[in-house]
Symmetry: C2
Subunit: 143 residues, 2 copies
Amino acid sequence: MSISSRFSVGIHILSLIELNKNTVNTSESIAESVNTNAAVIRKIMGMLKKADLITVQPGVAGIQFARDYADITLLDVYHAVHVVKDNELFSVHNNPNPNCIVGQNIQGSVEHYFHRAQQAMEDELKTMTIKDVINDIRKDVHS
Amino acid sequence: MSISSRFSVGIHILSLIELNKNTVNTSESIAESVNTNAAVIRKIMGMLKKADLITVQPGVAGIQFARDYADITLLDVYHAVHVVKDNELFSVHNNPNPNCIVGQNIQGSVEHYFHRAQQAMEDELKTMTIKDVINDIRKDVHS
DNA sequence: CAACTTGTAATCATTATCATTACATGTATT
DNA sequence: AATACATGTAATGATAATGATTACAAGTTG
């Protein structure tokens, strides 16, 4: 199991806006950098737009940040691209036997712990921003 | 995307050992409690055995803890059932364009943040034990 | 040997992902 | 208005993982 690469592609797209700000980024040019199909990029762009992270206009080339990229956390992107449903990072087996003590009560307990683990991960994502990623890349380029 | 329910089933199996300790647990009886097929249970039992969490003998009905269940963390189970490969909770898009500044450097940066997020989740799982789950279920039963 | 268990491989339906193609729709320029 | 080029979006297909199921080999006990 792995969380969809839509997440890393979303981060890639957002980083490009700043790092390629001297040129106009089209879904086609972004697709070349990411090395995928332009339709895939457009779909993800649509998700980023819906989450108010970017602005894009139908028919007009170019993407802009909808807000300061220092304030866009990786958690924002993660939510935007719908890679994990709310509280469903871990799946719990369905319909355990109601005639069994354990079957009857295990779901509530397990869900509670799974929720805590998922929360820890998401809290960590909240501490990282697109600006951090951009800075990393700039540092790599100049070293 | 969701992490396989093998994880929650593994926890269920382990809890049953203690909560049903007065009876002999066979893959068949466990399958009834979990509400799945016995072969599925046997496969997961095999994983738990390989990870030295339980002892099982071919041909002999019954499972035992291989060590104190107060010392078996949910992280142990998570690793045992192979639901997430090492450092691959998040997948990163492959082969970004090497002719692009961002494409060339983004993987390293993103992988670093993804690793941190995964680590936070696994660290949290490490704080939870099978004993905690068993206690929860016992409490539910008596309330 | 007979009955029962675990161990394990093969098959199948279902689901998600990602790449691709195609086309509708929107915008700008001439 | 016509052309060129962009985004938006639906449909299709290959690939992979999951979980249920069946079947059977191999181990154990009485």
